[in-house]
Assembly symmetry: C3
Homo-oligomer: 681 residues x 3
């Protein structure tokens, strides 16, 4: 996956925006149409107090901007844009395509998406559209044209925000038509499709293109190759729509960044393909505060965002100050956690810290989603934290544009995700994100900075590559991993990698078909462990003990050496973990889910062998990241613990938050952070 | 909520009926069309043996009474009515609108309700109608006209029973049309609707009335104000239909009571509005025998029924002698429990004890629902208990028409219920009935008689008012509670009260917006406790300890004094329970779910301060209630325990069941009851 | 239930086929259309290596055999048939009616079944047809005609396999029409239907046949008599279709067996009715390897298959070598278990051991279903076990045609099953199969061979009959059981037997209405135990103790003696287990679910009294069965344990697997089996 040839243009646009904003962007979604005008003035004043320099407007404004077909009313938005500008606040202007108005739905009810169960997703939520509907697309593009034309020259305009959290998957007739069209593009003939879909299994051979339909409602037992193609199609068709809006806006404002917002662990859209079309990766991040280790999964998503556009600064487009209404119990973030999480994003490469939303709604579905100004008003802990952070960030402009460097890459790939979780699998509870997280976590804990790559990415920059549950690898990818090792790279592969080809068809002759050669080992049969907590014992090659759970397989080595073997269970005596020297490099195979302690040892040894160093040795729960630019280097140290932590920062540097010079061992309070400007080396 | 101006007429109708019946009504639903005629004769004989004086006929008889469109066959019903009369048994005659016949559905399939998921509720159950369908309404009214005309003068006719357990909510086109009509009545303009529904959130602004639809199927994420209005509409539209039938029957029989049957904790219909249109509240009560404390929830419902029409005697319209087929495991009541539950209803103001049903069906869905005569026939424990109770009640005619008096009121309000449980809330497991029960229970345990009131009720008769989870309060209600306290009343408010206005929109500026002033305290942020069994510690103002779970919030006092503060958790040091002196009265705020022991202490202190006394000091599990009339007073003492209980009844009185004079300490066997006629004071 | 008058013809057909095959059939489903032609040759070679003599072809081939309406292409199948014949492999040729092709569905979309919830089961799975659709039936019969015509004389053809796992239940318009037709055949008038369905309950009286619809979607609360008839109809309508195809094939090949494949514990189709129309019972058996006692439930199904056609040899039509993709965690069989399970089937009367499938698919839904040749190819443990077993079976031809003898019968009846599990029952978790298994298990453990019979079967051959949860008994059945006892038989009845008549209507006057007389006892009321693990104590007539859980009832004895009474709970003092001497026999009533130890004692005593002997006394987990023919007798001894077992085989015989003479005590390794040819007696 490569990003578009004008990548430097995107970077330049983003760079200029941060210059106009004076460094880091700070602010959030602002929905003034929900409030009377006197509140607007108070808002502008409070934004200034909070150091806000960027707000996102119009995400949900379609019905107020186009009040009837072709009848546009931009007057109120003009006023808000002007008001923002008067207060020195920039605008990230959204096209409101997430909310086609009631009048449009009334005229074209088939814009509403049809769900997989045949029911229609009614009006009254959001993203209530089938993106393949021609009238929907036409009207959304017309709106983009109107907005581009009207606001291209507005001095408040800093960037564009196309749509919102693209997502709804329609199984309706328009989607079906578009799916057939997409398939005809992909397959030169029906027989090729029949072949790719293994249509002879259960006699599903198609003899006319019109027989091909979306995979709605044939029990969960529908053809996994067909469903994989439908995943590809839905991501593709939404991206096409994004691109069409983007191109309109680009024409009006060639120099402004244009993005849409991504989501955390969001399976529907292949963000590698999407990011290539964006000027920046922009993330909506809502970790559940009830998860003790929410910051680790957040870290994964942050590194992923940074990696989607090859290290370019990214944006926190939405986060919550406190509660998030989507959780079953709407627990608020503890004091200090919002600020800590914001610095974590910055430490991992973000140059924008934005919230959903500025002012908490008093009605509607999300009225219990927290905001920068909550229901209680500005006299609140949350607003005070918002003000503190905003004013701190004003002084951190120097970080904007700096970057992280990694020598380790982890593969995160949507095709693998889709294929692994299609069901009809060796086990129904497979969770791709958790499999990636499992390999990511030991590196995070060790403060080793990693990049993410797709299965199509160039690997030459990395000394070590991890390949977790990379279920689907096409021939080129397989070859690329093989070449990477052959050329001296170190590869760590975990179970359920390389099982199927691009058609979601098993590679025969022993698992994992795509990687047998580089691993020097092959599996005869999969043996998932069914029991809750079921474990088998392992003996390691140095005489130690370990264990495995969840997944095992009947592995045979060819050239590979055995690092651990089963000591109990049906596979006793067989190898579980192997390493193969291949060309100038080596490939480790974790054919079982080994226990975290053993996994940590194995990965630490790989890192050492690959010459990979942590940013800093730090106690558990203390995250350390470095951002460097031309002539500057910042070491960010974050204490995620609920207790103080003692950290040896070595030479350290000047803490940009306190102005103090820090070196040697310091005690960091809970939720506290150091932003050390390091002496130039 | 006031009951209709002719409340005294309703009471008079009920009074006359009980006079005709000779006191307490006893009997049940009777469905002779399910049985051959020879069984009818045996039924009449057994009814006499059991002391039955009232049976409900024709609830499910539409298809036998109107065998084709406009073809009526009342002959068989004439015979049953005559047979009942010959045996001295009165008839509660039902309009059979719950079961539109197969021929009607075949001709108008769109009478069948459409469910929220878009599926159609098929023929073969009951309540299979969209009450907004014009043909359904026309045919139901025609049937009422026929029955009113034919039986107005029948000597067996004692009262009317309109429909059955009104309930089904349709999301079909007829409902949608009626909903739009109702909205146009309620809102003077679309812009007013858009405002009330916060339609700008997520861009849901309507520009034409025809765009407004029922809230079916937009995920669970649909607009909570829209859904609240739909709740109001469904209750209203069913009530309109009830009233139309009632008015027809009233014309034929101005002096007979007309009712429909209510259900236990039934959320769909606002029974305050309904009860105002009935001649008596009539309850179908099916506690699950597997719940150890089922009698407490039953007590709440009984007090609610008595309160719905301001203390007027109410009816147990349906209960089971044993098993109830709707439970997943159909456990039968233990011996003695049916009799005890019947006396409990009487103790709490019921003058009618009726069952569903007289004879257990041998087919159909409810064939495992117990009856007065079960599958095994009259030679059974259950029938013997039925006979015993029926014959006891014959001697208790003097209780009929007597009343209870309460100085404490608890608010139970359907608008609060609907709004609280619409979802998109701080937590998804909110349960209004359980919140009310939580405050009700300590008073029940202490044998303090309470009335229920709505949020619209006059409170002047009460020394103490409890306001549990009164999530929605309109401006007038909020003012009324404030005035009540100001004028000297004592108010106890629990969390999640006064949060939204009548449009289900948050009252801003600190929770609970509607009650901040009277409470002298405000909350900055809600902090529900997520963990199973998660608890925080409290310190009370007198140095004691307590705990809270499930719900906490970040409370600030203004004028209020602090009764308990958090001693652990994120809110350590903040107040949890406060009391504010306001005008001549005081208002306590339970901002957290405190533990039952502490709650009991707090409420006991409030009762004492308010001069509220128990009916009698009695050991746990012994319920005591008093009913008084002109010149008579009855003390009912019920032992809900499985073990004997020793109760000091003081002066006591003559037990109407045994004829014995009871005073001082007596031992009451398990499930036993005393009905003490107290000496006139 | 009797099997068709030409039962001997069926047996003769089967006998001849086994003669042609040289004894036991061995092989599996083969789907060559999924593979290129060069694989076909390797397949044929590997089949020979594995001792395969029978493969099932064309189950899913419709779309390749009829590529457009009326355009047939049999060329490729001709080649496969020839190839098989050339390699000495016979063919079980399937009609592919399970998979109507895409072109047929595109032309007649209403062939797709409509599910109970109103949704349509889409194309892309299998069994996607409403069997009542006239075009579907016409096209399926035309295909049968084509195949019969083309292959009748092919020398590879050994038998026919009609359709596949008949199952899908449609609630669509074609099914509704056919249902009405079926009802008009069954009921002479609508009034008779109204009576049978207790239509007066809830006013569901029908006045025109067109008002009668399939019981889709009226909540779960629909009429249980109506739903019972729908169960009967669906089994009947699918069987009619099977018969139509069979008759066509019979015309072409009067001498070949024609079967369809049955499933394990499959509720939809009444296999007593179906088996009567088959030439052999053929079972697809997929026990979940995660169930420790999967072999016991398998044993029940094996005995059932043998019994369906009165002891005639049956076929394992499908089993897995390892993993089965339908399980949530796809655990593979342990080494040795596939072979052991195959011998278990043989021990219980099977003469065919076939697998689904020969070669594991590389695509499609079932690609993780194991096969004789797996993804890894023939170099695998599984293929080696397949080869071993196939070559062993070659030497066991003498078993083919031998039979088992039983003196105990257990009633297994689909009408009972349907009626018991229709819901609206005393408890919602009733599980017929588990109730049968509960009584079956002690006999299995004791190595007592049992036959299964339906509630309509002749019982005269049996000394002891068990009647578990025989909820529905029509008058004739009830009389037959009574006569059986009266004539000297021993009957054991468990709770929830004889409750309803053939219309699913309660038999009044005390439970169990149909068996009160023969049991000499009656129940007044059912008392299911609701609590998880809730138990009551029993005292036995000999002074011992026992317990009961799940189910109790208030039982009264008339003539019966009491074997155990309640010692705790609400029924303390009442009888729980009784035995009644009636005529020359006796009838035991287990009115409660007694604990397994007590149940074992009770059944052992019954066996002893009935003169029933085990095949052999063997340690736990060792199964012993005997098959005898004219002049031959085989004792099969199977060790299901994970540890060796010592078994005293007495005189023993010659082990046909090793050729060794075995007698006295031998040690049998885990998963091992003896096939002892016993000395002729």
């Amino acid at each position: 996956m490569t990003i578009s040839p004008d990548a430097h243009l995107a970077e330049e646009r983003l760079h200029r925006m941060h210059q106009r904003l004076g460094g880091i962007a700070y602010g959030g979604d602002y929905n003034p149409e929900q409030w009377p005008r006197d509140v607007w003035l108070e808002d502008a004043r409070l934004m200034q107090e909070a150091g806000v320099n960027l707000v996102t407007l119009a995400v949900f404004s379609w019905s107020r901007l186009e009040t009837a077909d072709g009848v546009y009313d931009f007057g109120w938005l003009d006023d808000v844009m002007d008001l923002m500008h008067e207060h020195g606040i920039g605008v990230d202007l959204a096209t409101p395509d997430a909310v086609p108005p009631a009048w449009l739905i009334a005229r074209h009810p088939d814009i509403l998406p049809e769900l997989a169960d045949g029911s229609t997703f009614g009006f009254g939520s959001r993203q209530h559209f089938d993106v393949s509907h021609p009238v929907y697309r036409e009207k959304a593009l017309a709106m983009a044209e109107q907005m581009g034309d009207r606001y291209a020259k507005h001095r408040a305009l800093m960037m564009w925000h196309v749509g919102n959290e693209y997502g709804p998957v329609s199984y309706g007739p328009w989607a079906a038509k578009a799916f057939r069209g997409w398939l005809r593009q992909k397959y030169s003939s029906l027989e090729e499709l029949n072949q790719a879909w293994s249509a002879d299994v259960w006699g599903q051979v198609y003899s006319d293109w019109n027989q091909v339909d979306v995979p709605a409602q044939p029990r969960t037992w529908s053809n996994p190759s067909r469903r994989l193609d439908f995943h590809r199609f839905t991501s593709h068709s939404m991206l096409e729509h994004f691109k069409a809006e983007r191109d309109i806006l680009r024409r009006h404002t060639p120099d402004l960044p244009i993005v849409t917002n991504f989501m955390r662990f969001y399976k529907t859209n292949d963000y590698w393909a999407w990011a290539a079309e964006e000027d920046a990766a922009a993330l909506d991040i809502y970790p559940d505060p009830r998860e003790a280790d929410a910051h680790v999964a957040a870290a994964l998503n942050f590194d992923l965002m940074r990696s989607l556009r090859k290290g370019q600064p990214w944006m926190v487009m939405e986060q919550a100050t406190g509660a998030v209404s989507q959780w079953s119990v709407n627990v608020s973030k503890l004091p200090g956690k919002m600020r800590l999480g914001s610095y974590q994003a910055i430490a991992q490469g973000a140059d924008s810290i934005l919230f959903f939303q500025w002012r908490q709604a008093k009605g509607g579905t999300e009225r219990y989603h927290s905001a920068m100004v909550g229901h209680a008003g500005p006299n609140s802990r949350i607003f005070r934290e918002v003000v503190q952070l905003g004013n701190e960030l004003k002084d951190l402009g120097g970080l904007a544009g700096t970057r992280a460097t990694a020598k380790v890459a982890v593969v995160f790939d949507w095709e693998c995700w889709w294929a692994l979780e299609l069901g009809n699998s060796p086990r129904s509870d497979l969770n791709y994100a958790q499999e990636v997280l499992r390999l990511y976590r030991p590196l995070f804990d060790a403060n080793i900075t990693v990049d993410f790559v797709s299965a199509q990415s160039d690997l030459s920059a990395y000394s070590l590559v991890l390949l977790p549950a990379a279920y689907l690898l096409n021939d080129e990818s397989a070859q690329r991993f093989e070449d990477y090792v052959s050329d001296g790279g170190r590869l760590v592969v975990s179970y359920l990698s390389g099982i199927v080809d691009e058609s979601n068809t098993i590679r025969l002759g022993g698992y994992p078909g795509a990687l047998r050669k580089v691993l020097g080992a092959w599996s005869e049969e999969m043996h998932p462990l069914a029991g809750e907590g079921e474990e088998v014992k392992l003996t390691t090659s140095d005489g130690g003990t370990a264990s495995a759970s969840y997944w095992t397989e009947h592995l045979h080595t060819q050239e590979a050496e055995v690092l651990a073997s089963y000591d109990s269970g049906r596979l006793a005596g067989s190898p579980a973990v192997t390493r193969n020297t291949f060309g100038k490099g080596s490939a480790m195979y974790l054919s079982a889910r080994v226990d975290p302690t053993f996994l940590k040892l194995l990965l630490a040894a790989e890192c050492e062998a690959a010459g990979v160093q942590p940013e800093l040795q730090a106690p558990p729960g203390v995250q350390v990241r470095r951002r460097t630019g031309s002539g500057s280097s910042f070491l960010l140290v974050l204490n995620h613990n609920d207790a103080p932590a003692r950290v040896d920062v070595g030479d350290g540097g000047t803490d940009r938050l306190t102005g103090r010079r820090i070196q040697g061992t310091v005690e960091l309070p809970p939720n506290e952070v150091l932003v050390l400007a390091e002496p130039t080396r």
